[in-house]
């Protein structure tokens, strides 16, 4: 006779520590829920009323944010793990979207370099640029992200500035 093995609901539930702007909160989590759900609860607990796309959760020392569609289990989030809540922008490259922590005084070139490294791009840095979605004007490399008009939650395109070929 087969016996069904039932997982205890409590095995899925745990808590994580979320840090934002020097404050720390214990946020309940469920291993089966999406990272985006944990993000939503963290924003609520910190009293942040911004859209979810403006922020992301990051592991300490990681340049790219946790993938929002993954479950906490898929993302490898462990009980009592400490995550950092930061302003974020999305960067698209060759069909892949990554979330990067966003600091307004940071320069466009710094984010470009960080994103090129995260995507494994081996081109010369000066041949690549960031573009706002819908604009063919390259964000000025020496400008701060703030002065370049980049806002939290923005979607930026990372690409070769000029694509051409010929004999």
């Amino acid at each position: 006779m087969e016996t069904a093995v039932l997982e205890s609901p409590s095995e899925h539930r745990f808590a994580v520590l979320v840090v934002h702007d020097g404050a720390k909160r214990t946020i309940p989590a469920d291993s089966s829920e999406a990272v985006s759900a944990l993000l939503g609860r963290a924003l609520h607990d910190f009293g942040i009323r911004a859209p979810e796309r403006d922020y992301d959760l990051f592991r300490s020392g990681c340049a790219t944010g946790l993938p929002l569609k993954d479950s906490l289990k898929e993302a490898g989030i462990r009980p009592d793990e400490e995550l950092i809540l930061k302003l974020a922008v999305s960067v698209l490259y060759n069909g892949v979207t990554r979330i990067f922590a966003y600091v307004p005084p940071e320069t466009v070139q710094a984010l470009t370099t960080e994103a090129m490294h995260a995507f494994g791009i081996t081109a010369q840095p000066h041949t690549y640029g960031l573009f706002a979605a819908g604009s063919t004007t390259q964000l000025p490399a020496n400008s701060t992200l703030k002065d370049a008009g980049v806002k939290p939650g923005n979607e930026l395109l990372l690409r070769q500035v000029v694509v051409q070929g010929g004999a």
């Binding site: 995507f119 494994g120 979605a133 690409r159 070769q160 004999a167």
Partner: protein, 146 residues
């Protein structure tokens, strides 16, 4: 990685080159596949581009829109393919201005404006290595027409 290329995609690619290039101008196409199954090439894309005496340049607005479409569909570009008037090789321009610059990206050059027999006779295939440099690789090692 060795990619599986449906024959219909190869035929469609040559059709683009012949229609767009008219046997007189260089032209470019891209082969894409889904990130969930990268080894199976699923579509040929014909970028909006302007031909000039020395080759071609892809339209900036088209590139931006394509970048968003790729992300929305979770597809990636695996090959860029373009034609030369005569002999196929990878020029300095081809080296410096590819659409993708990640290790494993492939660039196929077709001779004679693709006006010859459909296939890889006289073609040249280059791949970006881990060091970021292009090197010639065997076409049969990277493409399987299935």
């Amino acid at each position: 990685m060795r990619y599986r290329l449906p024959p219909a995609l190869l035929q469609e690619t040559f059709a683009y080159f012949r229609r767009c290039g008219g046997g007189r101008r260089e032209c470019q196409a891209l082969w894409i596949s889904a990130w969930r199954e990268p080894g199976l090439l699923t579509a040929v894309i014909h970028p909006l581009h302007a031909a000039h005496r020395a080759g071609f340049r892809v339209d900036d607005a088209w590139l931006n829109a394509f970048w968003q479409e790729l992300a929305a569909a979770e597809n990636g570009v695996r090959f860029q393919i373009h034609t030369h008037a005569r002999r196929a090789f990878h020029s300095r321009t081809d080296d410096d201005y590819p659409i993708i610059h990640q290790p494993g990206f492939l660039s196929l050059v077709i001779p004679n404006f693709a006006m010859g027999e459909i296939g890889f006779d006289g073609a040249y295939l280059a791949e970006i290595g881990e060091n970021g440099r292009w090197s010639e690789v065997s076409i049969s090692d990277r493409i399987e027409v299935v």
